[in-house]
Assembly symmetry: C2
Homo-oligomer: 320 residues x 2
């Protein structure tokens, strides 16, 4: 794992991933007396940075592995990312999903041409079915973050951001399993060695914060934070990178996450999901000192179920 | 009124307005077999194109008029646009608003430093109070669309779009009072004479469609369409420009507006208000043939009350 891996990933995938927009907010900059640059990965294909890692990892498979196909267990953005990357590369993808997964996510994954296998709603059930299928068909497991090629792919978002904006004093990314944060840290420290890297996680899912304090991995107990993308635990690979390259881990409350998300929707007019809003939550609640600094923030994704809002709207129209 | 007015407006205001992003959607382009370019005026200052016209018009006031101050009656995006433009130019602004105006709009207008005068909720009450204040203080009335400088300012959105993307076959804009559509038509036909211009209005507020058919202005009866920015009537000035430069007026249902808005939120991850969604509504309901064409769409703004959605979210968090 090195900066070179990020550069290679960037060269490998940059014709297929979206070069996402970098946005700023006058209001926020004057509020914080800082220059904040948002890397808008909600505009990435499948609506989240996950496509970067998935496409990088799948591109690097051997010809034989590509023929046999890939598998992953996820009900979130990683599933859709693997499904789309596989479809582009002509690889068969199997996604193991819990029976209760949201129908819009099931549909999106199917639409990308992946085969879905349902399992009971427990981590064990998922792993068991996945292992069985791997044994039977020799599929390659694409782990959402315990994989160097995934991590290098995720790092290309920060790489693009710094290449576009220039040197930054601080870079902030959400922290769940640690794939995005690891890639971000490697990319940013490679391009500007003096940069400070912050990871942000929900207080309700502060397993990484406690792990770094303890010096060993403390597993997450699948907490019910609204930031559903950040419920997962670190693995040895991401733990080691974060220990070495991340300067500080900050936690934010559910209320702070929602407030930050609302700022992004109302003031910046972009749809960001709760997991993508934690970095701004840390800034708005003054947990990171950014005064007079140039700050990069990875807005990791925009996949949130907006059906309830549109049901309210439609009711209004029908009534009128 | 001429193309030259648009170019001059562009040169006058381009250092102060946001050069808003142009976005595309792979899904939409493949669905329609066309190239659709969205000019994202939801990212404009105050969240809508209205700032372009307001800033242009206020810049052009005489020194004396600037000293006396400006006035307008509006509870929508034009009010906020005038308030911000006035604040930047150091002009006193008075906004006449109905008592029942949404509190978030009142607050935003106040935050820009404008003085708000409340009136009863009828068009007559508004006009009466406005005229009284003009008589007393000699304020300059800034009409939301019956004003050449406003129209030229609004046209700079299409001007920027075509300067960035190159020649287009079709340009589509929402149609309420006709200021944006008039400016858009002048700008687009000035830059590419062969372009076809479409205006889109809600079926529930089809006064412009009927006016063009009839050959004279038929007043809108302030209809309750969800596209609240498009409830106003044409004036002679915009009627004449639209007659001359707009190729066709298309109407869309409330349901079609909501579907288009949902596409923009869910697939493109941007917040667009109902009035801004009508152009896409016309495309998604196959009312404009765009096959194999390059099409520009003005997404006019993103100011919609999202409080109900966040109330739902907060309830979810409190319950968990």
């Amino acid at each position: 794992m090195s900066f070179q891996g990020i550069e290679e990933a960037f060269n490998r995938i940059s014709n297929v991933v979206n070069k996402t927009a970098v946005m700023t907010s006058r209001t926020l900059n004057s509020l914080l007396n800082a220059k904040i640059y948002f890397k808008c990965e909600n505009f990435q294909r499948v609506g989240a940075f996950k496509f970067r890692g998935a496409y990088n990892a799948l591109s690097l498979l051997s010809k034989e592995a590509k023929k046999r196909g890939v598998i992953t267990h996820s009900s979130g953005n990683h599933a859709q990312a693997v499904a789309l990357a596989a479809s582009i590369l002509g690889i068969k993808a199997t996604i193991v999903m819990p029976k209760g997964a949201p129908t819009n996510k099931i549909k999106a994954t199917k639409d990308y041409g992946a085969q879905i296998v349902f399992c009971d709603n427990s981590l064990e059930a998922r792993s068991q079915i996945t292992e069985k299928l791997i044994e039977k068909y020799n599929y390659k497991l694409i782990h959402p973050y315990d994989d160097n090629d995934i991590i290098c792919g995720q790092g290309t978002a920060a790489y693009e951001l710094i290449k576009e904006i220039g040197e930054l004093n601080i870079v902030i990314a959400p922290l769940g399993g640690g794939g995005l944060l690891s890639g971000t840290a490697l990319a940013a420290k490679g391009l500007c060695p003096e940069v400070q890297i912050f990871g942000v996680e929900p207080s309700m899912a502060d397993d990484a914060y406690r792990s770094i304090q303890a010096g060993y991995i403390i597993e997450s107990t699948y907490p019910e934070t609204i930031a559903d993308g950040l419920r997962t635990s670190l693995c040895e690979r991401t733990f080691t990178i974060i220990q070495k390259f991340v300067d500080q881990i900050v936690t934010v409350s559910e209320k702070e996450i929602i407030n930050a998300m609302r700022f992004l929707w109302e003031r910046m007019k972009i749809i960001i999901e709760p997991s993508g809003s934690v970095s701004l939550a840390a800034l708005l609640s003054n947990k990171i000192n950014t005064k007079n600094m140039k700050v990069g923030i990875i807005l990791s994704g925009g996949n949130i179920d907006i059906a309830p809002f549109f049901q309210l709207l439609e009711k209004r129209v029908v009534q009128s």
